[in-house]
Subunit: 331 residues, 2 copies
């Protein structure tokens, strides 16, 4: 990819991201009651990467459709994503998100539960706007994504109490909790663009594998990013005792005292802030930072392989660029 | 309606209620992870009246369709209803529901939030099963119901802090929070039964008005039912300082000391258990128990007027019987 292309793709991304931001705000701004839609507006006004809506648009175009075929679906996917964030933040008792107070901290838990529900209802409203003859397929895909997200969140919670989570179980969990949503963005985008069965299948696979790579990258960033970039505390997953790709790999590979100290993280449901550097060093020694990078490359590679089906070179290249950017992101 | 007809309708209701119970249980029983679907099973196993699914079935038949056209939609409506119950119970911090511990008391709040979300996802899965050529219409109706339920819940919460809620505002709130769901049962049922535009409209109006009558009856039962019938404490709405039809009417009609004591309910966010009888007497003196009964009759009457459109006498009669039973219920 040459500099000119990269510049062009970045510009398109910025332009479309801004359009999505406006549409997101409009999706709740003028609705009543204010008690419901004002907190919703607070939420959707926060600056996100808008990865999911962009994927909807790009995959619509990849099969010969136009962006305008799927703007509402793109908004729907970001609303669905925001619904999961609000409820997850309550469950995790998180204080901050995207550098701002989480909704249940800014308002209260009851408001956050209801705003989450409401965002989901508006998400269905928006996905319906772009669905016509294909409504059953589109809504089925969207609903499957929702079912999986709930199941993934439940698996993730189950993992908290367990000492023997395997990488395969972890992969199943993130497929449901994270990758399913990236997947359905691609499935819905390519369906709305009028893709053939084969095209939709290949592009859906791109989404699934990209989603897996994305989550492992997320796990990696938690321990290796710069705090100023991340917008939240480094090592947050360790503080909470989360079963990340790195933690499970470390547990698998460690012996003796190292293993015991990792098991203690589970017993104590997390570590103290002053222990973060110790575990960062341990991760390094055990080579799990490298393992995570290898896994990210593996799944990104699989994702890119599916793009052979896209006819126009530029449409293919932008999805390669997009994947590349995602797995090289700093936050 | 003669005794033979009533017996026949009761029998049909019992038979279909049992079928719905089985289908509800099957909708979650064998799914994984257990951590998600076991609490969901606890919830759907509790004995409900299954008003919403029955309305779906009866309105499908009313326009010439068959029950089998809408069993999945019927299950979907009960799942949607259960989703609202779980989240509402968290928000109200309710201990009991249908004579059993509420989900967040039996498990915990995080589980209850997620199980609610998950029930909603399964509800969409089920409504999709019965939707084909009409998927867009059906899902739009279902989604509108969901949007309104969230808005209604938000309005209800707003009312808590206010001293000047009018009966009109109350009616808007219950239209959204309660009646919209009864309405869409009828809209979806009659659409799935293949009703004409006029038939669907009339039967939807039946649902809306019946839903309003149903909620006012609910308000009335809270203060006038027998505790052993109700399955929860009498006067619960007063204890929580809820703005019911009776409370708002009482505030409107009262003067002097009576008015002050009602305003104090708002200030104190409810009353003490030993004050329930005092307020029950006040309601009686102010005539708001009679007012509620009048309003119930008014909206039930409006509901029944819409049934003229149903061609077969028996199909019409069973919906009259159903409405009659609802507004004469003891719990």
């Amino acid at each position: 990819m040459n500099t000119g292309e990269i510049k062009k793709f970045s510009k398109l991304y910025e332009r479309e991201r801004k359009k999505i931001d406006v549409r997101l705000i409009n999706s709740v701004k003028t609705r009543k009651p204010k008690s419901l839609y004002e907190p919703a507006l607070y939420l959707v006004s926060s600056k996100g990467k808008r990865i999911r809506p962009l994927l909807v648009l790009l995959t619509t175009k990849a099969v010969g459709g136009k962006f305008k075929n799927s703007y509402n679906a793109a908004v729907a996917m970001e609303l669905l994503h925001n619904f999961t964030l609000v409820h997850d933040d309550i469950m995790d008792n998180a204080d901050k998100r995207r550098g701002r107070l989480t909704l249940h901290k800014k308002y209260d838990t009851n408001t956050a539960i209801l705003v989450g529900d409401s965002l989901l209802s508006v998400a269905y409203e928006y996905i319906l706007k772009d669905s016509n003859g294909n409504a059953k397929n589109i809504i089925t895909s969207f609903t499957n994504g929702l079912v999986e997200v709930c199941e993934g969140q439940s698996l993730d919670t189950d993992f908290e109490k367990r000492y023997d989570v395997t990488i395969d179980e972890y992969l199943l969990m993130i497929k449901k909790k994270t990758a399913s949503m990236i997947k359905i963005c691609c499935e819905i985008g390519s369906t709305l663009g009028g893709g053939t069965k084969q095209e939709v299948k290949a592009i859906t696979d791109y989404g699934l594998n990209l989603g897996i790579a994305f989550q492992i990258q997320d796990d990696l960033l938690d321990i290796s990013a710069e705090e100023s970039n991340l917008g939240k505390r480094i090592g947050g997953d360790l503080l909470e005792g989360k079963k990340t790709y790195l933690f499970i790999k470390a547990l698998e590979k460690s012996t003796g005292e190292d293993r015991k100290s990792l098991q203690k993280v589970i017993i104590n449901k997390g570590i103290r802030v002053n222990q973060i550097n110790k575990f960062r060093k341990l991760y390094d020694e055990l080579g799990v930072i490298e393992d995570a990078k290898t896994a990210i490359n593996l799944y990104t590679g699989r994702a890119l392989q599916s793009l052979y089906i896209i006819k126009k070179e530029e449409d293919r290249k932008i999805l390669i660029w997009f994947a590349d950017n995602l797995v090289k992101r700093k936050k």
